[in-house]
Structure formats: structure tokens, C-alpha cells
């Protein structure tokens, strides 16, 4: 499998790369080389600095210190294929490829580009796709391959693939793998970012592992075992399972939330679990694992095709979010700015927004009640009461998330759902949010969160359910489970 050798000259090389935003160092003295004919896997937990590194390699961001060298950098021959598809769905395959072409001039040289398009499509494994086909008729995997073909269109020698398989199914993944191998065979250097450790061993010649902005291990794949990689990714900061002892093991009561056989192809399949009042359950999985979709389904925002959910013995009407809200479900979305809060309104107006019934009589708002509600909910999430008159727009992510949480709590929910409770939340505000949610749970609320952050599970959850590609893998007590076990389950889909 080891196709490369250290004697091949590097196409692209990072020399002492560092990047700091203000006082926060996100990348610290990284040295790594990428060679022609090699698939190079780049691994690391969320926030390890992978994206910053590839952005610098692709020339999107400038490093604070160090430099990028190598012939590919000199010729601007680095193409980046992003995780979010950037193909334009309404245009044809050919037009999408033409957009990636760098030739200047008033007219588009369609004939020449058409020939070139056929070549790159063959290389990307799309030889059977017609150039005139609208991109929206392609499958997700084919769109992902087209994304790769776009990178090839301008003769890029180094291709950076950012989690190309995160949202794909098994068969589709094989097509992407085949394309990556073909690229390596034709003398490209492929930089492959992934969270699926399984594919590292199938695919990569070389592995580089990052943690907290530093490069912690690099070498040919054969030098690594699965558990090496996981321990490198976690480092010594791996949490001892027993250091969170705050939530006392109260007598286990009967489950308050019973979810059975929830399915929505292709997002999640046959998901069943139960939640108890006073316990915080985390659905743990990578992007595309379905953990987030299950939470949205319970909120009534993503109606499942099959299955049902009972809350305190009442069947939740999962087809409507007005219905689930009436049954006592509140949801805090991950994306604050677009879904979680009303940016251009005051904290008070935000908090009362989903509980207007509580602050009005005969549909007439009572400002005094509204202020009292805002004050009491703000104190529950440890939000400074003096600021409840201010506009949410100017706040930090942490304070905005507190407002979003207070909004949800204002409906007095029986079931609190959260997606990525502290994504983009500053370190200072995280404990406040964890504390408030735990407090709610202790007062008898059932809490289900979806997260892709292991630290968050340690800080917040009592129980964790791992998910992999839409299916439940395992369920554990957070206190008695070690990190590597959980990581293996979400990365490989099999119990360790």
C-alpha cells in the first residue's frame, strides 16, 4: 500500500506554519510535506486546526509565521474541495466545470473546455455523466465527485478534500475512494481530511494527526494502529471518566420520553431510545451521523417517515412544530443567528417571543409581566439582568446562546432539545450554559442534546448515545465510559 517514498520531492510543503487570531493560537509551528502520488490523511478532533492549515495551504488565508513552499504553491496549483458543496445546482455539469476554468477572455472557449471536461470527469469517475445534465439531477456522491473534477479542471496538482464522505452512503463512498486513488496514481497529491478512521486504513498512504493546533504525529499509515491514532487525537487531555461527579445518581424513574423506531431515509434509520426526567442524554455523532436530525425530528421540524415519540405518555405530533411545542417541547437550534434568536430585537423581546401567552391577557401584551419573565429567565441562564434591554445583535456568541436558551426555557418545556449547545460559544460562557441546563434537568426537565464535541459530553451529559451514519451504535453512562470507546463508535460505527 505504501506507494510513496521519502525520496520523492514534495509538491507542497508547510514550513513552520503558525496562525494566531488575536491572542489565540490556532496553528503552532506545523511542518509537513505532501508528495505526488500520495494520499495523505489529515486527522484531528474538531478545533484541532485542520481547516486553518488547509486554508493556508490553499492560499485562502495568510499564516502569521512560517511559509508554504514547493512547486505546487509557486504555480498556485492547489485546489480545495470543500465539505459544503459549492457546485451550482441549476447549471449543467459543463457550465459548472467551465466556471472553474481560469482562462481569461470575453468568450468562453466551449469546444476546448468540453474536451477538457471529459478528461477530468473520467479522472473523477464520472465518465458516464453527460455534460449537459443539470447538476441537481446528480446524486450527492456525484456532486461531490464533480466538485473534485472542478479542482482538476485547472490542472491542480494538489487536491485538498475536506471530509468528502461525511454525508455519503457506503456505495457512494467507494466511488469517492476510487477517484482519490486514481488521482494519486496519476501523480497528484491528495490531502484527505476525514473523521472516519476506517477509511484512513483503506485509503491513505500517509497519516498526519493534529491536536490543539500542533502536529502531534505524522508518518506512513503502516506505522499506526487504530488505537494509536485515537490516543494521538485525544492526547493526554483525555478525560478521566470519573472527574465529573456532579449529577448524583438519583433513583432511576420511569422514562418520560420514549422514542421508538424513528426513521427518515437517508438521514436516520430505526432510532429508538428513552429519556428520563432529570437526566441529560447526548446524541453523539459526527456531522452527517443523523444525531442532529433526530433532535430536529423530535422538535417537529423534520417529520420522520416512520416511528413515534411519546412524552409523558402523550404521543408527540412530529409532523408539526406547533404541535410539539404545545406538548411541551422546546428546541434550541445550533445556528443562532439564522434560527435561534431575533438579532435585531432586545433580550426581553427575544425571551418573551415564544411564550407570548404567558405575558398577555386577552391577547394584549402586559409589559410588566414581560419584563418579569425576561428577568427570571435571564437569571436562570446566568445572563446579566442589567443588559436585558439591549439588542442581541451586538452580543458575543455565548451571550446570544444564553438568550436562545432563555427563550426556550420561557415556554416551560417538559422536554428541552438542543443542537450543538455550545458551538461557537466562548469558553467563559460554556460553564454557565452547562450549569443552567443541568439545573433544569435537576428540576425535572428531560434534556436531549446532539453534539459532535466529546468535551461537551463530559461536561454536560449523564448518558450518551453514539450514532454512526444514521444508526444508533451504543448507549453508555458517561461516567463509566472512556473516551476512546466513544470515539471508536462514532468514527467506525462498531462497538470497540
Amino acid at each position: 500500500m505504501t506507494f510513496s517514498s521519502a525520496s520523492t520531492p514534495a509538491l507542497l510543503e508547510a514550513k513552520g506554519l503558525s496562525k494566531a487570531y488575536g491572542r489565540v493560537t490556532v496553528l503552532d509551528d506545523v511542518n509537513v510535506a505532501f508528495r505526488a502520488g500520495e494520499i495523505h490523511a489529515l486527522l484531528g478532533e474538531n478545533g484541532a486546526g485542520k481547516s486553518t492549515l488547509v486554508k493556508i495551504l490553499a492560499g485562502v488565508t495568510a499564516p502569521t509565521a512560517g511559509e508554504v513552499a514547493g512547486p505546487a504553491h509557486a504555480n498556485r496549483d492547489v485546489a480545495m474541495v470543500f465539505q459544503e458543496l459549492s457546485v451550482i445546482r441549476q447549471l449543467s455539469v459543463l457550465d459548472n466545470l467551465v466556471l472553474a476554468d481560469r482562462s481569461k477572455g470575453v468568450f468562453v472557449p466551449y469546444r476546448r473546455l468540453g474536451r477538457r471536461a471529459r478528461e477530468v470527469l473520467a479522472l473523477a469517475g464520472l465518465q458516464s455523466v453527460s455534460l449537459d445534465r443539470p447538476v441537481e439531477t446528480l446524486s450527492l456522491a456525484e456532486q461531490q465527485l464533480l466538485e473534485i473534477a472542478r479542482g482538476l479542471m485547472r490542472d491542480a496538482k494538489v487536491l485538498i478534500l475536506d471530509e468528502p464522505t461525511a454525508t455519503l452512503s457506503d456505495v457512494e463512498i467507494q466511488r469517492v475512494h476510487a477517484a482519490a486513488r486514481r488521482l494519486a496514481e496519476t501523480g497528484h497529491a491528495v490531502l484527505y481530511i476525514t473523521h472516519r478512521l476506517g477509511e484512513v486504513f483503506q485509503l491513505a498512504h500517509h497519516v498526519t494527526i493534529m491536536r490543539s493546533g500542533k502536529l502531534v504525529a505524522t508518518g506512513p499509515t503502516r506505522m499506526f494502529e487504530m488505537h494509536d491514532i485515537i490516543s494521538h487525537m485525544l492526547g493526554h487531555a483525555a478525560h478521566d471518566p470519573l472527574d465529573v461527579a456532579e449529577s448524583e445518581d438519583s433513583l432511576l424513574e420511569a422514562p418520560t420520553l420514549e422514542v421508538s423506531a424513528l426513521s427518515l431515509a437517508p438521514r436516520f434509520d430505526d432510532v429508538s431510545f428513552s429519556g428520563r426526567c432529570g437526566r441529560i442524554l447526548a446524541l453523539f455523532g459526527q456531522v452527517g451521523s443523523g444525531a442532529d436530525d433526530v433532535v430536529r425530528a423530535l422538535a417537529g421540524l423534520l417529520p420522520p417517515a416512520n416511528g413515534n415519540a411519546m412524552l409523558h405518555g402523550t404521543r408527540l405530533p412530529l409532523h408539526s412544530n406547533a404541535g410539539t411545542k404545545r406538548c411541551g417541547v422546546a428546541y434550541v437550534p445550533a445556528d443562532r443567528a439564522t434560527e435561534g434568536v431575533f438579532l435585531n430585537a432586545s433580550v426581553t423581546d427575544n425571551i418573551s417571543s415564544s411564550a407570548l401567552k404567558r405575558v398577555s391577557g386577552w391577547s394584549v401584551l402586559q409589559r410588566r409581566k414581560e419584563l418579569a419573565l425576561a428577568r427570571s429567565e435571564a437569571s436562570k441562564v446566568r445572563f446579566a439582568q442589567a443588559r436585558i434591554g439591549e439588542n442581541v445583535q451586538a452580543f458575543s456568541g455565548g451571550n446570544q446562546q444564553k438568550v436562545a436558551l432563555a427563550r426556550a426555557l420561557a415556554c416551560v418545556p417538559k422536554l428541552l432539545l438542543m443542537s450543538e449547545p455550545t458551538r461557537g460559544v466562548d469558553v467563559g460562557a460554556r460553564p454557565d450554559i452547562y450549569h443552567s441546563v443541568r439545573q433544569m434537568a435537576r428540576e425535572g426537565m428531560t434534556v436531549v442534546v446532539s453534539t459532535s464535541d466529546l468535551l461537551e459530553i463530559r461536561e454536560l451529559a449523564d448518558e450518551v448515545m453514539t450514532m454512526y451514519r444514521g444508526r444508533v451504535v451504543g448507549r453508555h453512562n458517561v461516567r463509566t465510559t472512556k473516551d476512546p470507546e466513544l470515539l471508536e463508535e462514532i468514527l467506525r460505527g462498531a462497538a470497540a
Partner: protein, 317 residues
Amino acid sequence: MKLGAPRLTQPSGATLVAVATVVVAVVAGFTLDGFATASNFRGLSLSLSLIGIVAVGLSFITICGQVFSLSISTLAALSTICFASFLHLGAIEAMLVTIVMATCLGAVQGFIVGHFESDPIIVTIAANAVMVGAGQLLTDGQTIMGIGDTSIFNATIFNFLPVEAAIFLVVTLCLHVALRYTVPGRQMTLLGLNDRAARISAIPRTWLIVSAFAICGATTGIAGALLSAQSSSGQLQLGAGFGTGAIVAVVVGGVAVTGGIGTPIGAAVGAIFVGLLVNVASLAGFDYSLQRVTEGVLVLAVVVLAGVYSRESRQRR
């Protein structure tokens, strides 16, 4: 603390326009002959009241995040026809029939916009075409003369306040209270601020949009009926300036086209300011064309100022 004020320290658009209105009025009172007279005041309040009534209703559509209705002028014309046709029942009765008719026509447009999530501009353009055609068929292009006594709507209260202006004030206050102090009003504001967050909060989106269009229809009906009462007649050319006039007033009055920001009082102040400027321009000897130019430049100035302001506040963040 108030919903709609973009910054606590920053005065809202409507306040600025209100201040400008007072300043212009005072300056004109001292410098222009014939401005500070009872007859000019009566003429001024007559000329701006009807557009003001429509603008206050239109502000609900804008605050809901549904931009504008472009069928207002035609709906106003249909309202004049309706009022004239039913005037034989009595002025008040004809007014009520007209309001019901216009409310329903507005609500239908709102239902299409809300339920099918269609673009409000396109829907109201289409509705406009349908209503023009229907009006043509109904009247055969003729003027409908109403038979009945409309003096109640052409009276002057206490010898200085025309009934039209009084209705304008009452409608503005009622709708302002409805938007600011009721649950549906607050929900409309939230919907305009952030559609997706509003959906997640399970706000009755379709119903709110239907209500906003219905309110706009009702105020257009009132304005159309009052216009018809001035001449006891109705025809398709009447009220032609209501649509653009109301849009100008809403924009000048500090209601954000993106939704969620602004109040009905703001729209009313906008209507008063525009009416005042046009009045001053005509007293200063500008002819009709120059008055229109004044109006257009004013809207452009407001839009440019709003753009500059929002860019600055983005940079400050």
C-alpha cells in the same frame, strides 16, 4: 428596550422624520406666505390623510417582512366604485360594505403569499392585473355616480379638522396599539425580524401574513371610500397615486423594507412629512413636476442614508 429601536442611543428613523417635520413646518410658517393659514392647514390635512391611512395599513405588510403590496392603487379604485355603487344604502353602510370587500381582497392576496410562500411583489402585481380587468368589466370603463348623502365624510370637526384627518388619526392610533401591544402584532414584528426563527417558535405564519394583508386591504378600502365620498363617484382612475404615495410614506417613515423594524406611527409620520414637503414645494412656486421630483429625491435620500447607516453599524460590530 423598545422593539424596533435599532440602538438604544440612536434615535429611530421615525423620530428623526418627526423632528424634521416640525422643523420644516416651523420654518415654512415663518418664511412662506399662506402656509400658516387655516385654509392651507385644511387643504394639507385633506391631501395627506388618505395616503396616510393607506400607508399605516401598508406598514403591517412591510413589518411582517412581506415588502410591499403593489395592488393598492387598483384596490383603492375598486373601493371608490364599490362605495359609489352602494351609496344608496347610506354613507356609513356603503363605507362598511367597501371595507369588507377590500379586506377580503387583501386577505386573499395574503393567503397566497403566506400559505404558498410566494413572493409578495409578484402576487400583488398579478392581483393588480386581475382587479384592473375585473373593474373594467364591472364598470365598462364608465364613472359610477353614487346617489346619496356623503356630507358626513366631508364635514369639518370644530371648524378646523376634516373628518378624513380625524379618521387618519384614529386609524393610526388603533393600528399602532394593535401592532405594539397585542400578541399577533408582536408576532408580526418577530416574523419580519427573522422568518426562520419565527417558524421554529411555531408562530402562526400564514395567519399573520393574511392578517397583515387584510389590514392593508381594510385601510385601502377606507381611503378609497373617503375619496369616493368627496365626489360621490367611483371609477378606475381614482386613487392612482395611493400605491406609490403609501410606499414613499412607509419608507420615509423609517419602516425597514427588510421587515421587523418600524411602526404604524412611523408610516403616518412619513406620510405627513411627504405631504408637508409637497405642500411647501407648491406654495414656494414649484409646479407639479418639480413636486414629484422632490418626492422621488426624498425616497432616494432615505434609502441611501439607511444603507450607509447599516453599513456603518456592521463595521462597528
